[in-house]
Amino acid sequence: MTRLFAVLATLVILLALAALMVGPADAGLAASLRALLGEGGPLVLVMQEIRLPRMMLGLMIGASLGLSGAALQGYLRNPLAEPGLIGISSSAALGAVIAIQTGLAAAFALALPLMALAFALLAVVILLALSGTRRGDTLTLILAGIAISATSGALTQLVLNLSPNPFATSEIVFWLMGSLADRSMTHVALAAPFMGLGFLLMAGLGRSLDALTLGEDAAESMGVNLTRLRLRVVIGTACVVGAGTAVAGAIGFIGLVVPHLLRPFTGHRPGPLLWASALGGAAMLLAADVAVRVTLPDRDLKLGVLTALVGAPFFLHLIWRNRRARA
């Protein structure tokens, strides 16, 4: 287990360095790192105001998506639960779009993550109300998720189409696919407090989630407070997904692929999987963000395009396995 964490942490550090190095402003490793510390003319601006916030957001959002995916899957005991797939991210995007278009975000900066958080929370509550926590009720969860995704996606498009701003309509892609291009420290500061809160809420869930694998009654007899567990998963997920989506749009599939890949290495226990997934999610999003910058340096290729290309086949594979298990 320690080895897994060491490997994942090394991977994250290497990818974070790569994320700092890749960009149209060509500069060597030494010059870039010196500029990061504040010497070297215009390169300082590039490193401190463009690449550093971009790397930090990739790290934070990737970890959030991995962690919340693992927490949701552990709590619902359902391998298909993922914030993007079941509509939490698109709901959060709708909240963010409403905050921007009503001028709320301009009047009060924190309104942006708060609105996204509120809408993410709404989506989680609706999902839990519809699908409950019965083991293996995959179908209801996915169907409810599709309905929430479709509704919030449509409302996002409606709001942006009604905007008097000629650029708003073209931003639908950003909100539905996600991107880290041209973000700044302002966005890091907006997202960080809510992500921190979400991480704190979900940090100590490992033991409870492990106990839950034995069933709700067994978990309760082992001293797990199920109501508190649910509250922490729900609010924690809404916090991290809401804050991430508010600044980078909805990025899908990371919370699905990462826990799925790492599960065998954690002995199929949801507890250790939480933190492994957080590290793995950060690594995957950083890798995706480096990849979009390497493949199409001149265009803003959306992150969701890459994560979906990797994630959708995984999703099909999981459905296939699910079907065989039931047959």
Binding site: P24, A25, P42, E49, I50, A105, S163, S184, T186
Partner: protein, 271 residues
């Protein structure tokens, strides 16, 4: 008596009623740029309708004048119901509507956008011919070329500048906006290109002496947020910056002279 006849003849030659009788009588323009040239060239009563964007002061240099005409939205049905005997369209506007109107037998004249200052006289001439107002068109061209020649002053010290729009777009020398910038005495950091996406990093490394941005539209957008990015702000603090109104830049009409004039004044302020 003789003098009065001569005066009448002169008036006819100057052309208002006669020219209108030769050309189309009910013209509908569905493109912002053809709208503005047509409003300046058409005989009274000849132009029936202009596009709704022509009334928007952010895009149109003639928003006030456009109020006098009924607005259209470039849709085939509404234009057909206006019964025009000529439709003026841009070569990229409302393709489906243009094709349909042609099929229905309405004459359509398509005018390509002006990609450079040299294109402007040609576009004015095309529209003048279509309207049967060649004399007015030639007069407008002569005035335009005369004023442009006086604006093309030699500049020794050319400050570098970047044009930066929403979504990080820029325009290079081989565009109308690029030529406006060069004529006003700046060197464009985007160089001899059409322009395109200029990453923030490239902008930061180029470190231009001046940055020229569009005026943001109402209703916030993430696309325009880039104009307030700390990198752009830092360049703004260090260099000179100017937000220009898009209306004088978008179309190849004599209004570009005003854009050049404004920019040249801005450059002189830098010295």
């Amino acid at each position: 008596m003789l003098r009065r006849a001569a005066l009448a003849l002169a008036l006819c030659a100057a052309g208002l009623p006669v020219a209108a009788e030769e050309g189309p009588r009910r013209v509908v323009s569905i493109n912002l740029c053809t709208d503005q040239i047509a409003m300046q060239l058409a005989a009274p009563g000849q132009l029936h309708s202009v596009s709704w964007i022509a009334r928007d002061p952010r895009s149109s240099a003639m928003a006030q004048e456009a109020q006098a005409y009924p607005a259209n939205h470039g849709r085939a049905e509404e234009i057909w119901l206006m019964k025009p005997d000529l439709v003026l369209a841009g070569s990229f506007t409302s393709r489906a509507a243009v094709e349909m109107l042609k099929r229905l037998g309405t004459p359509v004249v398509e005018v390509a956008p002006a990609y450079s200052l040299d294109d402007i006289p040609d576009r004015i001439r095309s529209i003048g011919t279509a309207l049967g107002r060649e004399a007015q068109a030639e007069e407008m061209i002569a005035t335009f070329e005369g004023r442009l020649a006086t604006l093309r002053a030699q500049v020794d010290d050319r400050p570098s500048a970047a044009i930066y729009y929403a979504n990080g777009y820029t325009t290079g020398d081989r565009t109308l906006a690029g030529e406006i910038l060069i004529t006003a005495g700046f060197d464009n950091i985007a160089g001899d290109t059409m322009g395109g996406h200029l990453p923030l990093e490239t902008l930061a490394m180029a470190d231009p002496d001046a940055i020229i941005t569009g005026t943001p539209y109402p209703g916030a957008s993430r696309s325009e947020e880039i104009l307030e990015h700390p990198v752009v702000e830092a360049i703004r603090d260090r260099a000179a910056s100017r937000a220009v109104s898009d209306s004088d830049w978008i179309c190849g009409t004599p209004y570009v002279l005003k854009a050049i004039d404004d920019l040249a004044a801005f450059r002189k302020g830098l010295e």
